[in-house]
Symmetry: C2
Subunit: 149 residues, 2 copies
């Protein structure tokens, strides 16, 4: 097997990107089989944990663009996993609510996601997994607090 350039193999940016590729592969297949994708899971998770929310709030919580929330919610609505209703208190807003079927789908996605974590972190010990998660959390938090815009 041809080896990859050391310039790449030793850089954190490359390793992160390639790991993310694997994440997408693992999740993509499983989610597609369930008729969902990453964006759908994010929205369902946010609704489950924080209750009904406007699309703008969902976007901020899930790190999604407003326009992508529109599409995700539309697709989830078509699958009867969420409901969209006008906010009487603020007529600009929609209130998005998760349904029973949505909760069920979320549980299903949660299960597959748990096995994905195991596959992804297979070569690491329990301690190493915790270390990796902690370090990545630190990086993500830092960039969340120090936004680009």
């Amino acid at each position: 097997m041809e080896s990859t350039p050391s310039r790449l193999a030793t850089k954190a940016s490359w390793l992160v990107s390639q790991t993310a590729v694997h994440v997408r592969r693992l999740i993509g297949d499983e989610f597609a089989a369930a008729g969902s994708r990453g964006y759908h899971y994010r929205v369902l998770a946010a609704l489950q944990e924080f209750g009904p929310a406007s699309q703008a709030e969902l976007g901020r919580r899930c790190r999604m663009d407003r326009s992508d929330v529109v599409q995700a919610v539309t697709e989830l609505e078509r699958q009867s996993f969420v409901e969209r209703s006008a906010d009487p208190a603020d007529r600009r807003r929609n209130i998005v609510t998760i349904t029973g079927a949505g909760r069920q789908q979320l549980r299903r996605l949660d299960r597959t996601l748990d096995t994905v974590q195991d596959e992804l972190l297979a070569p690491l010990s329990t301690a190493e997994r915790q270390t990796l998660v902690a370090l990545l959390a630190k990086v993500v938090k830092h960039h969340g607090d120090t936004p680009t815009s």
Copy 2:
């Protein structure tokens, strides 16, 4: 600031993906300013480290699809960063060679990439950075040895 669902924030897959998003943001801007993108860097790096190569070999080294190599090499050729020539020993192959200008571009991208590593890993100590790189390398290596196909 609205917080993200704990389902997401605690999962390695989410943290990896979000970190990769930051990597793309950091690299994307800088590379675009230099008229390049990730694929271009990969090809230039492989050519620099291993010398002239066929497109198929570049694809295997850089984890790129054959068709994506075609486009990247075409664009690099248009910028005079590489040259494409037929392989006399195997008329199916092209031999791709990096040019002087290509080496210069690679050095430029290398520099910006170094500063990107610093920005990305800013919240981590030197020891933590090494740990993170080692853990990710283990994950990437594992999935490289255990290919999907």
